[in-house]
Subunit: 341 residues, 4 copies
């Protein structure tokens, strides 16, 4: 089966990230087409990926026969038209949030997809794929903590661009917690209230920051969200689930921490070497593949490292038997003809 | 540039992991050839990867013109011969530890590679690619903690197979800390001592477990390693660096924790959304690519999720202006013709 | 200067704790008088403390010339009368919360004390004396985190008695966060809202649990408090301060954890042996004093422990010079005439 | 029963701490006599404690009929003579480490006490009274982790006085881990080895720092101790117990953290308000007693704080019923005649 040929529409910061992701870290896919309303930008990004070409019109890119699927990272106002084009051409599309910029057009897109009878749209709420959110979801679904009751969330950015306004705090930041709530609780949100404390003195004039959002789901679960986009600290996203029989917090930079009967707090130890070093193996292989493919020297441990380890282990086994310190015997590398470190 | 065509030799547990890794998570590479001394096993694994075929003899696999590079996951005693074949054919090889099973043959491999004048061998000490070890290395190289003085390590397995003996604790477990020491300190190990406490009552008769290894580097840095392979708990690998101006520990399941002047402990907050959610984006894309390629329904957030988020945010913005709770208006999904959740 | 002679009024669970505290852990004070509306209970508690006697009427206890100060642990409805009596007799009083059971009588007590021109009443909001709250207060007052903006609090009990009702969640639990807010922010609370999610299925019928309280101070700082009294887990009290330049959380069972620029999280290492082992020294001395006073054998480390330590250290110093393992020489304790461990 | 009358011999830094401890934090005891070889220092310290007087000769202080018990904080070389005097006079003595400065005199003291047939000496190994070590001891004795196998310890000081030499690292620092080992394992130490890495460049010339001590107990348990007294960071004392069925670490500034089956790490939540706020209650009472006794204004929450809390709670209960935000009604404090904050 050949690689999935993807058109990436919109290659600003986010779209360019996705191009690099597909080209360098995603298996079985390649960037076939790049499009941006700034043609120079499109050319620049396409040039960075072997086999990618620019198509100047987004609808042409969608319709292109050499495109199997579409990634939409264009500005929100263009989404409706582009999504509908994807639907008409039967092209699966991964659409960065928002789906569209208002409720009516979003509903129109939902309806058209339903009429066509095939799910073709995925929205880029990436937190569902984060391993900590996945753990939280599994904890809820496993039933161990009983009925989920509340979420306490914090969404903090160190800074935002000057153009960021109070409504964008809701539309661009809170929207993630909206999806997290719906994902974790599996039900719709019935009402929402935004409460504004005295603003952060360091926030730009006119920006309501921080905000406290209170959401209530259909069955009465409560979610409170601190939204604070001018902290000056770092990117912090935290979610605490409060359940009938325990609570769990993610986003503390220490893994999922849970509290439960019999009065203990803590986390899970990574159970095996695959979980502990899976990322390391992937990185090792990707870097080795990239170096070999480019004809570069690999920069990982080399034969000398393997030899040195063997020498130490041999001495170690000798010490295991004798109980005494043992000198390690390693040849002088300069004595090896042609050796370069 | 086309994908790197890899021969995987030895597809036991580890080799099979590597086959799945290359096929499903590594970009720009594919498994071209599979080899195993058990031909049925080789067939089974090859069948799981489109485009892979079995080659019955490992040396033939190495020599195969459709093979650009080799992954060696065969038993240690076969490594010497296979590595030398890779060298002769100029095939870059990623060799699972050990390089070879004794010091003399390891040195012979080093010498042959040096004679040929080109680095072609990488050894699978994957910890160098783990992000926590990389952070520790960066901390040392950055000089912030001054001169590194000591490492305290623990290497714990919940259990080992019945065949595991006292020397394998050194050769298979300690070997990783040997490489970690050489990697972090950038110098050779000069002597080693294995000290044995009273054995764990739960360890198999005859297995010296736990062990305490004391290694000293050329410049006099000390490394102590607890080796304990029958803990019954989990896979735990921990390394603490003690430097002139501070200390740092990894492997506590809470990220790198450092202690330093002015008397504080703690870690770094993931600085941005790329670091915090990079894994989520990668997973999102890989799963979307795989689903689309296989003609399956994507299982991520769909158009309805995008619509529902829009409806909540619209109500949120209204509350932002009014300060009051606002009901969220969502249409009945059953009213949408053809809609399926 | 002689010990402060205290009358403890009300010796239920809380008052009895205070009697034991004064008798066994507080220096320069003693329990002179015990009073309870259950005379048998008063006798029982008084009998546990040398030098304490029962006085049957609380107002007589307050007036008693051998009483210098009063601790009030009686039921709330009796507080007003007893506090006014303390004021009339000029007896300083430490009054367990609530001051009185309603706003009018509380104000009447405030007014009477003001008329008399001397502060004589302290209310038992003990969190102000907790070292973690003190650290949070110092952090705010130090100005390092700039303007304080919000508090996120959680107040969780594993269970409450059957008589506990929804209003008691506010009056008995939330009241602590009310005082914490006023203490940390140094201003009054201007408004409050209680929001109720769907109740915990495990909570008694009719009890609104959990609750979410939203308080706003005069200057517009926001405080949200999760109140949850049927968690089944443990006693959890957590407070997170969000400031202009950083945030800090206490009550995680790991000390105060702060986040701030430059994007780090963590805590303070106990800076010296006094802070690290101050509690140990106090406990050591109190237990030694109590044992010696009662003519009991002390149970701390004895002369043999001192001797054994000397023997090990002597061998250690020898190893320091020789670099070799040294056997420790300890005499057979049975060879010592009269020796008992 | 009257207070225990204590003579404190030696009022340098440590002895002066103990005088303040007995006078201000220990119940049922008082400092009756102060002695120091610097008479001015003795006078100064005695003057800080009501009822204490100076006795110029340490043996006279021990013999004094108004002295019930002795605290020895004099230099080590004087201990033997003073301890023997305590024994002869039948005075219980709490002796700061070391018992004496060499093994022979320590043994002589042990023998004399044994001859007299009564335990009168306690040595100041205060860690046995630290709540974290007590938890570790309870964990071992409870048997939950099976047979204890090893301890990994670190003992770090930010700095030491210029007079501190390599042997003092053993005698003054390691000695605590010697006692901890004997306390936790309940057996004697059979051998010891000191290993010296390349010294810390920041350590004074000639000081072997850091050191690594390896101790083996009679039954073969191993203890390794990092001794590092010029870290520049803080006072760090850490102990990790490795047992047959789990491990636990204290001294991380986050409470006791344990790892065990089924592959989890974590700690215990403080189970109730007594454990969580016991220190706060004690501090509250001691500070209130001290203020009242000295005729000072108490600085804890006052009647106004009680009134303000009542006003907020009343509004909270109203909101509980209405579900709406409720304004808090608080009178203007300036309207209260005579009111002072």
């Amino acid at each position: 089966m050949s690689d999935l040929r993807i058109a990436v529409l919109g290659v600003g910061m986010m779209g360019a990230d996705h191009v690099a992701r597909i080209a360098g870290r995603i298996s079985n896919a390649r960037v076939a087409v790049v499009n941006d309303y700034l043609s120079e930008r499109a050319e620049e990004i396409a040039a960075s990926v072997p086999g990618a070409r620019v198509v100047g019109d987004p609808l042409d890119a969608i319709a292109d026969p050499d495109v199997d699927a579409v990634v939409l990272a264009t500005p929100g106002p263009t989404h409706e038209k582009q999504l509908l084009a994807c639907l008409e051409h039967g092209k699966p599309v991964l659409c960065e949030k928002p789906l569209t910029t208002d409720v009516e057009t979003s509903l129109a897109v939902v309806k058209r997809e339903a009429e066509l009878g095939k799910k073709m749209i995925q929205v880029g709420f990436m937190r569902r794929f984060d391993h900590e959110y996945a753990q939280l979801k599994a904890l809820i679904d496993g039933g161990e903590f009983g009925e989920p009751l509340m979420l306490h969330c914090a969404h903090r950015n160190p800074a935002v661009p000057p153009s960021f306004d109070s409504a964008m705090v809701v539309r661009d930041s809170l929207v993630h917690e909206v999806d997290v709530t719906r994902f974790l609780f599996g039900e719709e949100i019935a009402s929402i209230q935004i409460i504004m404390p005295a603003p952060n003195p360091a926030a730009p004039q006119g920006l309501a920051d921080p905000q406290l959002a209170i959401m209530r789901t259909e069955s009465g679960k409560l979610v409170d969200v601190e939204l604070f986009v001018t902290t000056g600290v770092a990117y912090e996203v935290r979610t605490e689930l409060v359940g009938e029989k325990g609570s769990a917090m993610i986003g503390l930079d220490v893994g999922l921490v849970r509290k439960g009967a019999p009065g203990t707090w803590g986390g899970r130890i990574t159970p095996g070497f695959r979980e502990r070093f899976g990322q390391a193996y992937d990185t090792e292989f990707q870097r080795w593949v990239d170096a070999v493919r480019n004809g570069e020297n690999v920069d990982g441990p080399d034969a000398w490292d393997g030899y040195a380890a063997a020498a130490v282990c041999e001495a170690g086994v000798e010490s295991l038997h004798s109980g005494r310190p043992v000198e390690v015997q390693i040849v002088d590398p300069d004595s090896i003809k042609g050796f370069r470190k």
